[in-house]
């Protein structure tokens, strides 16, 4: 059994499968959970509802949804209605990449961690399935941690805040097995890039494919609802 910690942690919670698993993992380690979700103009609002349900079910001290009006920038299929979500994996960085998204999310999390006097920020990124995203790589995380040590009063005072990515080296099946063991209710999570208003998945986008394949490989029953 993991060592119990009664320390606060800020956990980034998108409403997806990965962050729900990271939240449950942090809970099992005894952290006091401060969940942070962003309303950044994403096309699928069902994601925000999913995050709320997951936070309620796992049990957090506080869940904040921070509105960040960066959707006007465009540049991503996840925020720009004029860029179609692809039905097939492509080459290189996916069009679902949102410019500097994880940098922005972690910067806000860093501010909250500092005011909470928390030392740990937990993010559910992983480099295995989504290697196309520059801000999901271990080297991105290391660079952010180097920045965090310099950017804050906490860092100057020797209370360095660090970002932990406990799922970094897991594939989708490994993440699902981990969450299943911890009792994560994956029916509450939404991975699809193109869900309907009821939060049902398309079954065709990259994210749906990785998810379905992950459940199959993990030999865990897949509760995903499709439209």
């Amino acid at each position: 059994m993991a060592q119990k910690k009664s320390r606060p942690a800020v956990v980034l919670l998108s409403g997806g499968l990965d962050s729900a698993t990271a939240l449950a993992l942090a809970k099992s380690q005894g952290y006091l959970l401060y969940a942070l979700t962003f309303d950044y103009g994403q096309r699928h609002r069902a994601e925000l509802e999913a995050a709320g349900k997951i936070a309620d079910t796992v049990g957090v001290v506080e869940h904040r949804v921070v509105t960040l009006d960066v959707g006007w920038m465009g540049g991503s299929a996840l925020t720009d209605n004029e860029i179609a979500v692809p039905q097939q994996p492509g080459e290189g960085i996916p069009v679902t990449y949102v410019p500097a998204r994880n940098t922005i999310f972690l910067a806000v999390a860093l501010a909250w961690a500092e005011t909470l006097v928390a030392r740990d920020i937990i993010i559910g990124i992983n480099a295995v399935d989504y290697s196309g995203y520059p801000d999901c790589r271990p080297e991105f995380l290391e660079a952010f941690n180097a920045l965090a040590a310099l950017a804050t009063r906490a860092g100057v005072d020797g209370r360095t805040i660090r970002v932990l990515a406990p799922l970094m080296d897991m594939d989708k099946a490994g993440i699902i097995r981990t969450g299943d063991r911890l009792g994560v209710d994956y029916a509450l999570t939404l991975s699809c890039y193109n869900p309907d208003n009821a939060g049902r998945a398309c079954g065709h986008c990259d994210s749906c494919r990785f998810r379905a394949q992950g459940f199959a490989e993990a030999k865990v029953a897949d509760p995903t609802r499709y439209h």
Copy 2:
């Protein structure tokens, strides 16, 4: 004369003296200016009005005010009504430090720069007068630039976006002399931590003192209005 550049740059514009000078400097270098201001729950709303007037006067392609609701975090005299703005300089990091503020601002600027296909972000920080702020130091800037190279699609594609801080090594008098030469209308700028609703300065806070001393040392007429 500086070489003319017809490249876009994102310029952080707070409404204060430093960022107004950085904006004018970028203009003189021929950049196409995209000014970025944050409404982050700062107690003095007059700052936002000042930013708008400065952007209009200098002439920018676009001026965006991004709302970022992080004021609920508290932790700074600039966003929290329960922390008084000090009338005397103290030891160490000032209570006017806003947790991770420049990290958040630069992260959003990085996203905008990436969508604009801009390579340069310009920020008016300087390490001389405000050495107490961790996120105004050269080492902070270097760490952010190292992160930016890894965090974006642009970085992966070899179009690294970098943050420039042209005022980094100037003291307040040097900044004022530079801006005066470039025709900056400092009457439009607001430095005070505790202005009245009409945007008139208190004359007593750290920021007012540095400003008044800067004008005196620069031998430039000080247009600041006090309440």
